[in-house]
Symmetry: C2
Subunit: 165 residues, 2 copies
């Protein structure tokens, strides 16, 4: 029952985005769940300070994920993941995302070969964003730029290409 | 008329999120807008390859923004910006965001003093995400961690603190 409540309140699943496998297979409720009522305040503490991965999906069942190059530290791309994308990424070590425009799961590089090998996954304080630290097999952007962030806003408000990309 | 269409189609403004000042004050339609019909395909080309900043706001009038430390290259935080947050950030050089939970504009560090001085703003290929390259005046996270991404997913699926944070 506690686990069920945890899934309902912690993961905020919607009927359309149920994960096929629970994201917390080794779920072990931390002491606070036994010792205290799960008020919003200690739910927040658990999410921010705890050791349980409990992603906070939005109403579409998604979290934001950014890929960062392990060697250069450069921000490569930003996309979205649902529970299945997280699961596939962890299973395969290759970055998978949910395409909002195509409405389907995709593996980055599935057609180009420019896969992102995921070395580490970090999660932010409130667990609604992930950082994927990756080794990239090629340009991260479909435009063939190394990073999707290949333009900066210039002083006059126009966009200019970042040198070297 | 072209400008109006550009704002309607390019910025996808919602009634609740009208910018107080047009984001493209020096708007100068690129040649393609004069020479060809603005089909979805060349709208996409303009957005991906052009020099006009035309952020693609979501249905809530927001784009995703990530802050990256200029010196270390480390990913610091992820938040959201509406048109006004972008405008204020560009005007003041201090990162402003739209708080979805509080429903208001906020300047990062307005209470803690841990402002983010924005050195450069980059935009991604389809212009729905921004990268803020910043100098941070203190911990970026409200938990006092240097970065909000202070935990990684361990092999057993639990979260563990990133060493040094």
């Amino acid at each position: 029952m506690v686990i069920l409540q945890q899934m309902q309140h912690g993961l905020r699943l919607s009927a359309n985005n149920l994960p096929r496998i629970c994201l917390i297979p080794t779920f072990s409720p931390p002491p606070a769940l036994h010792d205290a009522a799960t008020t919003p305040a200690n739910q927040q503490d658990l999410r921010e300070q705890g050791s349980v991965f409990m992603p906070r999906f939005d109403s579409h069942g998604l979290v934001t994920a950014v890929a960062v190059d392990r060697t250069s530290g450069r921000l490569l791309m930003l996309a979205h993941m649902n529970a299945e994308a997280i699961e596939r990424t962890r299973e395969t070590g290759r970055a998978h995302f949910w395409s909002r425009s195509r409405g389907r799961l995709w593996m980055k590089g599935e057609s180009s070969g420019h896969v992102l090998r995921v070395v580490e996954i970090r999660v932010d304080c409130d667990q609604d964003a992930l950082e994927l630290i990756v080794d990239a097999a090629g340009p991260a952007c479909h435009t063939m730029a190394q990073s999707c962030f290949y333009r900066r806003i210039a002083a006059d408000g126009s966009l200019e290409r970042v040198v070297g990309d």
